[in-house]
Subunit: 154 residues, 2 copies
DNA sequence: TAAATTCCTATGGGATTACTAGGAATATGG
DNA sequence: CCATATTCCTAGTAATCCCATAGGAATTTA
């Protein structure tokens, strides 16, 4: 339960990799982190739209963080991939149903949300990307990712 | 993100209803809580297998809690519907990948799990079913549930 | 100018979700 | 004793989401 989508896990591993490498191409990140290269392209693009990474096109280009990793709270990453934190429809909006502010289930879910939110705000990308890691582990859904060759080095 | 399945929301509302009514048939719970009657049958059955409710078949039968609501932590209900709390595969099992105990992402997800778990253990069904509620609110996915007639009273 | 790269759109298979349908088994009240 | 209320069981299904894959256009540089 409360399974985190592979997409979000990939995003986090990719960003941790970028934090450590200082910037890299999608293909090389994918190779290093064992993620489908084409799929990762879309993820990085989404992270760019969210203002977490920036990119350079063309030969020698790639992605890099817009800020130091220590200034990127995990909640921002998760929100970029999955949108607002909302376990049930009526969280943060007591007008959804007639019980409104007095609804106990709503308070319960609100408490869950607050709990998760506070944790995700308390951790940042630098905490995750710190030594002595080289390869960032984690399992997604893909067992046999496309072996796109990542040629050349920067 | 972290959307809670309608099924789990239904289960909680149904149990809160049972806590307040002292026991009722699936059809009447469904009517009172605006949940599809047939769908709710399956949910209550699942809760029975988990030892949270018990049932009497036949005329005059229905479902009731096996224990006082105050002795049913919310985590037990959620676990009954969705299984173990496991945001990622490697949580609680560092042997899943080679990084094992030193994997930072794993520690991160472990922290998230602990945070959610601790909250769900801190709230029980009685907290949720308390006054002054009559109808328990909450929205699921069904907009037009089957209007199964719940005839008769106990 | 060829190669490396991001960027864009479309498609598809598999799994899950939220039911719906039908009826068998069982107990009770009248 | 039997009609009725109830749980219990199994199967199907439409819609949605997830995790990619595929192909190529646009862009930049060595």
């Amino acid at each position: 339960m409360f399974q985190v989508p592979a997409k979000t896990q990939y995003a986090i591993r990719a960003l941790a990799h970028l934090a450590r490498s200082g910037g890299d191409s999608a293909a090389r990140v994918a190779l290093a982190q064992n993620i489908s290269a084409k799929y990762l392209e879309g993820i990085l693009n989404q992270l760019k739209l969210a203002g977490i990474v920036t990119s350079d096109r063309g030969r020698g280009g790639g992605y890099r963080l817009t800020r130091p990793a220590s200034e990127i709270p995990m909640i921002e990453i998760v929100a970029a991939m999955e949108g607002e934190l909302k376990p049930v429809e009526c969280v943060d909006d007591s007008s959804v149903c007639s019980r409104g502010a007095f609804c106990m289930p709503r308070k319960f879910w609100q408490g869950l949300k607050d709990s998760v939110e506070s944790y995700l705000k308390s951790v940042n990308l630098a905490d995750l990307a710190e030594e002595p890691l080289i390869t960032i582990c984690g399992t997604g859904k893909n067992k046999n990712p496309t072996k796109t060759e990542a040629k050349g080095a920067r």
